[in-house]
Amino acid sequence: MEGALLPIVVFIIVYIALTFELVNKAVAALLGVMVLLALHVVSEHEAASFIDFETIMLLLGMMSIVAILRKSGFFSLLSVKIAELTQGNPLKILILFSIVTAVLSAFLDNVTTVLIIIPIIIELTAGMGLDPKLYVISQAIISNVGGTATLIGDPPNIIIGSKVGLTFNQFIINLIIPVAISFVATLFYLWLTNRDKFKPINNDLGKLFSVQLLLEKIRNEFLNIKIDKLFLGKSLACLGIAILLFVTQTITHLSPGVVAVLMAMVLFVITGVDVEHMLEEIEWSTLLFFTGLFILVGVLEEKGVIEWIAHNVFMRIGDNPYLMVLTVLWVSGIVSGFLDNIPFTITMIPIVRLMLEQTPIPNNILWWALALGACFGGNFTYIGASANIVSIGMAKQSGVNISFLEFMKTSVLITIITLIVASIFLMMYLWWSL
């Protein structure tokens, strides 16, 4: 581990800055990289070689597709239709919005999903005199659960998929069962602990009347843009083709990153959107943050720090595969609840790789443990996942204040339940595989 002290110090400082949000996350990561470059710990060419361009391309492509889809009015249309379907029934609001949130998060990023769902759910529940907090928290949690199901659903999965070379189909086939069970378990827990808040309203004429007026208001508010059907059709067709190409990756041999950027560029051309304006919608700071983190972890890996952590922390648990899977799952789960799960996943990938070199585990089960832990664990606290932070922020803007502890009161038990579901699934999967 010669010359490792400086990269370790820089990495810890960056991690602290990220955790406590001392500076912008992209600035923190890139400043760390610049310090290492300035002190000649790593050269520019070496640094560039650490960047996983597959991940960056996938993120860039999906962000572009989502930006165009948002402009098409598709999300507004969808959320208004769901609001209409609920007819103000509190349990229907929870279930239908959760299904939409889970499905959208599986195919789009979680932040985009909550940006679409949270305003309408606050409008609907607050207008009905219900407490919007429960619904905001539930949708944030569900977005993290739903996002776990696919390669493109959550940043940790994108990173694992790109760095390890796992396909879209492998993710969905291996993760859909624990995600579906966790989704149902989450809704059941929410219903069980808040039964009195989910009473039907169809015997209350006053409430029914308010809901009808509210739905009309929501239609006026959220559908006040003209929906260009051709534009919407093109956008949905391209998203559909992108998903089809993800699914047929083993036949086409096109990586998800290439598919995403390709379809985004096709969309830019066929919809004739103002590209400059659309590019402003892309979260460049997130892409720069990823770039910086890849370099920081790459340097640690090169200096032998990752190998040291793997040998002295994770490999000390021995070579029992059950114990290894559970350790990766629960450590990822707990750490992701308090630290950003993106840098954590980037750090864990080389560690898991070393663990697998020592004790091979079939069917990529250790990778699924990392994905489930990092994604589900983000629900422990509201700083654990970007979707949580965005949801709480949007609720605050609407006058609904949710404290750190209020969020945890609901989220901790749900996270533990989902991690237990994941543990049982992985243990059974491992038992079946060995």
Binding site: G127, N203, L205, G206, F209
Partner: protein, 295 residues
């Protein structure tokens, strides 16, 4: 209905009023009433008290939506004849009566629009503030059915309402200019008509109208710009302006280091005497007819 639910409902009425105007809000409210009766699950003995409770709540809205109240009161009288029927019959009757009320109201509105379109002359420059669906339709109707050309000055106060009007006028090729409401003084000389709508015309010769209407009407009145009010007679109240329950709110404000409380009213009160022409479903209403309806 508890107090919080009532306040939420009244706020919903105001929100709709701000975006759609109170003519469309009245129709939306009646349609919502119909839909909620359709969805209601209760016993035969429960339905009538539930309907009467809701009517009572609607009666007390802030501000009072007089056309809605008139129509709902008519509905209340008519539905009582079905009180001893079974639940399905009561529901069907209620929905049918409410649909009749909507049709009647829309017919009145249509007639106001037709009379209103006759008020515009070739070469007019009309000022429009917080255009309701009635005023918008009058402008469109005048352009469509009469071979005249006129110009519209849109006073922008509420962006949503202004946007609706701009889109409608652009589509109909009606010449228009959009100016901030506080810049009206620069356009008074070239204008000859101000078109407004109202929630209510009260017994003591006042009108309840969107915020900002009072100062615009005063300015136009003082500068000899004819003020036209379009309101069908269902908007006429049998009570005075003090009983209209205009919503009043105390807002806590902060500006730099200064914290203060500000009182805001949801609607303006305008003296009817400053209005030169009142157009109803029966055409222009003279002062004598007004006094028959009012005091």
């Amino acid at each position: 209905m508890n107090q919080t639910d009532r306040e939420n409902l009244y706020k919903l009425f105001r929100d709709h009023g701000d975006v759609l105007g109170f003519v469309r809000t009245t129709v939306v409210a009646l349609k919502s009433f119909m839909e909620s009766i359709r969805l209601l699950k209760c016993t035969t003995s429960e339905i009538m008290p539930l309907i009467f409770d809701l009517i009572q709540v609607i009666r007390c809205s802030e501000p009072k939506i007089i056309p809605l109240i008139h129509l709902i009161e008519q509905f209340e009288t008519e539905i009582q004849t079905s009180a001893d029927q079974d639940i399905d019959t009561i529901k069907a009757q209620a929905i049918q009566i409410l649909q009749q009320k909507i049709d009647m109201y829309q017919s009145n509105v249509q007639r106001v629009t037709e009379h209103g379109a006759q008020c515009l002359k070739d070469g007019d420059t009309v000022v429009v503030h917080m255009a309701s669906s009635v005023v918008t339709n009058i402008l469109l109707k005048a352009m469509e059915t009469r071979d005249i050309s006129f110009k519209v000055i849109i006073l922008q106060q509420n962006l949503v309402r202004a946007k609706q009007l701009i889109n409608a006028l652009s589509k109909a090729d009606i010449e228009h200019v959009i100016v901030p409401v506080y810049n009206l003084s620069h356009y008074l000389e070239g204008s000859n008509k101000l078109l407004i709508g109202a929630v209510t015309v009260t017994e003591d010769r006042k009108i309840v109208a969107p915020v900002g209407t009072a100062s615009i009407v005063s300015l136009c009145h003082a500068n000899n710009v004819d003020v036209y009010l379009f309101a069908n007679t269902l908007h006429f109240s049998h009570h005075g302006s003090t009983t209209q329950q205009i919503h009043c709110e105390l807002q806590n404000m902060n500006f730099e280091d200064c914290a203060y409380s500000m009182v805001t009213y949801s609607h303006d009160l305008v003296n009817l005497d400053m209005i030169d022409h009142v157009i109803t479903e029966d055409g222009e209403m003279g002062k004598i007819s007004q006094s028959r309806y009012l005091l």
